[in-house]
């Protein structure tokens, strides 16, 4: 079954139509990679699926629900989003940020997510002291705590070292094996994506 169905999608950013007439199915329990050059619309596509952009044409449905017809709260129960460049100005601790605004059910998953992502050592640190890679893992941790059927990741591997990259890929594969559906924007060579089930290269 296709958990994400995109039909004849068109999205304009500024004055430029970045995505034209795109149709795409993402099956349940798969990993889909979106690759391509800078400015090719990768992040725009993942933003559109996340509900961030107005659609010029076409439709997106998540688990059978038309994206434009469901509330923010309903969307958040269907998918989790990890964006790039999270900026903090207040010295919250890593744990405080992971737990912020989470339901009681989500809070019960915090400890296991922290150990899954190997964040035990930084969990009491101020987020202002984190490196780029650690900030990305923090954003991934917030998403994993939510336990949704769909995960949207925008460049989650960009600032990770070799070992963290391998660990995260292993984690994504484990999530897929548990039935999660994952869409990842990446800057990687297609030849390195043998762990993905579907690769989307051309968005226009």
């Amino acid at each position: 079954m296709a958990l994400i169905e995109i039909r004849n999608l068109g999205v304009t950013r500024g004055k430029q139509q970045v995505i034209k007439d795109l149709s795409l199915d993402v099956k349940e329990g798969t990993i889909t990679a979106i690759v391509g050059a800078n400015g090719s619309g990768k992040s725009t596509l993942i933003g559109a699926i996340a509900g961030d952009h107005r659609l010029d044409t076409g439709s997106i449905s998540l688990c059978g629900n038309n994206l434009t017809k469901i509330s923010l709260a309903e969307q958040s129960r269907l998918r989790s989003v990890v964006t790039q460049n999270q900026v903090f100005w207040l010295a919250f601790t890593v744990r405080q940020v992971i737990e912020m605004g989470q339901s009681i059910e989500n809070l019960s998953r915090v400890e296991s997510v922290i150990s899954q992502l190997d964040m035990g050592e930084i969990v009491n640190q101020s987020v202002l002291t984190l490196s780029g890679g650690q900030l990305q893992r923090l954003a991934i941790a917030r998403a994993l705590v939510c336990d949704t059927p769909i995960y949207l990741f925008d460049e989650p591997l960009a600032s990770q070292d070799k070992k963290s990259k391998a660990d995260l890929i292993a984690l994504f594969c484990k999530m897929r094996d548990e039935g999660k559906t994952i869409v990842i924007v990446m800057h990687t060579e297609v030849s390195d994506l043998d762990w993905c089930d579907q690769i989307i290269e051309d968005l226009s």
């Binding site: 509900g51 923010l72 709260a73 919250f92 605004g101």
Partner: protein, 323 residues
């Protein structure tokens, strides 16, 4: 939390000490203070309990209310530079009171003037909110709205040919000299409401620090949280402006000083900032009326004089709390 309680105790001690200071020398001042006789007809008791006490308690409450407004402004715009004066709120409240007073609807520092100030503050803040598309624009547009409304207030006061429309100083630098027990009663009610509602909003204010797109992704509308914060801060600022004129800097400084004591989590920050705000305004007002008696120095100047060095010291010695 222990630090907050200690500071609250300090506020109480200074407030008691402040009762003994003032323009008129009272003989046997501590005997009068310790009698706690509010109904006394003796002149010395009346000076202490009918003139000094409401002003001192008013300063404590207003300091707390202004500081909470500052926390709400910084938290809701996700910006360390935010201040109710930069959102149009303060100028809107001042314009509301000036219109109310000039049309003979209310008198300055009356309870009715709070209603006029609240209308002005709410309309101005909502105008800023409606014109701005994101948190950064809020500040820039807010400054523009403030500048426009302040100019109208200044012109209205300058051309008003009325003795009871007090000097421009009252509106630009503030004064607590008009406070009475009936003002204090209204202030207390507003302060409790502002504190309770701000605390109830504190988990959402924490969330705003993640940025608007993160909040939307987690299923909430950041603009809605912001709107509620603005409603609370408008009422807080309106109360303050209608009673004592505009008092600047305190709302900006108190939250930053409080962060060095309790960290960024709004649950504790709101209480801590309230106590810091109360402390600074109490010390500033006590200094304003006792440095050069019988002159009442403009409170705004003393707040800057006391608050600014404390703020700089906190930023320099408190470690990294924000960037």
């Amino acid at each position: 939390m222990k630090k907050i309680y200690l500071l609250a105790l300090l506020v109480a001690v200074i407030a008691l000490f402040a009762l003994s200071l003032g323009a008129t020398a009272v003989s046997d001042v501590w005997a009068s203070i310790l009698k706690f006789n509010f109904q006394s007809t003796e002149v010395s008791d009346q000076i202490i309990w009918q003139i000094r006490a409401p002003r001192i308690i008013g300063a404590v409450i207003l300091g707390a209310v202004l500081a909470i407004a500052g926390v709400l402004a910084q938290g809701s715009t996700n910006n360390p530079l935010a201040d109710p004066a930069f959102l149009g709120t303060t100028a809107g409240a001042a314009l509301g009171v000036v219109i109310g007073v000039l049309t003979n609807a209310v008198s300055i520092a009356s309870i009715g003037s709070i209603a006029w100030a609240t209308c002005g503050a709410l309309l101005a803040t909502l105008l800023t909110f409606w014109l701005a598309r994101n948190a950064l624009q809020l500040i820039i547009i807010g400054i523009a709205v403030s500048a426009t409304l302040s100019a109208i207030v200044g012109i209205a006061i300058s051309i008003a040919d009325r003795s009871d429309v007090r000097s421009v100083t009252f509106w630009s630098l503030g004064s607590l000299s008009l406070l009475t027990w009936s003002n204090v009663a209204v202030l207390s009610v507003v302060a409790v409401a502002v504190l309770a509602s701000a605390r109830a909003l504190s988990p959402q204010l924490d969330l705003l620090s993640l940025g608007d797109s993160q909040i939307r992704h987690s299923g909430r509308d950041p603009q809605r949280i912001r709107l509620i914060a603005f409603l609370i801060l408008s009422i807080a600022i309106a109360t303050s402006v209608s009673q004592v004129g505009t008092i600047s800097f305190l709302a900006l400084a108190a939250p930053h000083i409080a962060r060095f004591l309790v960290g960024p989590s709004h649950r504790y920050l709101i209480s801590a900032a309230a106590v810091i705000g109360a402390l600074i305004l109490l010390i500033a007002d006590t200094a304003a009326r006792s440095i050069a008696p019988p002159q009442d120095l403009p409170i705004g100047l003393l707040i800057s004089l006391i608050g600014a060095p404390v703020l700089i010291l906190a930023l320099k010695r408190g470690g990294v709390q924000w960037r």
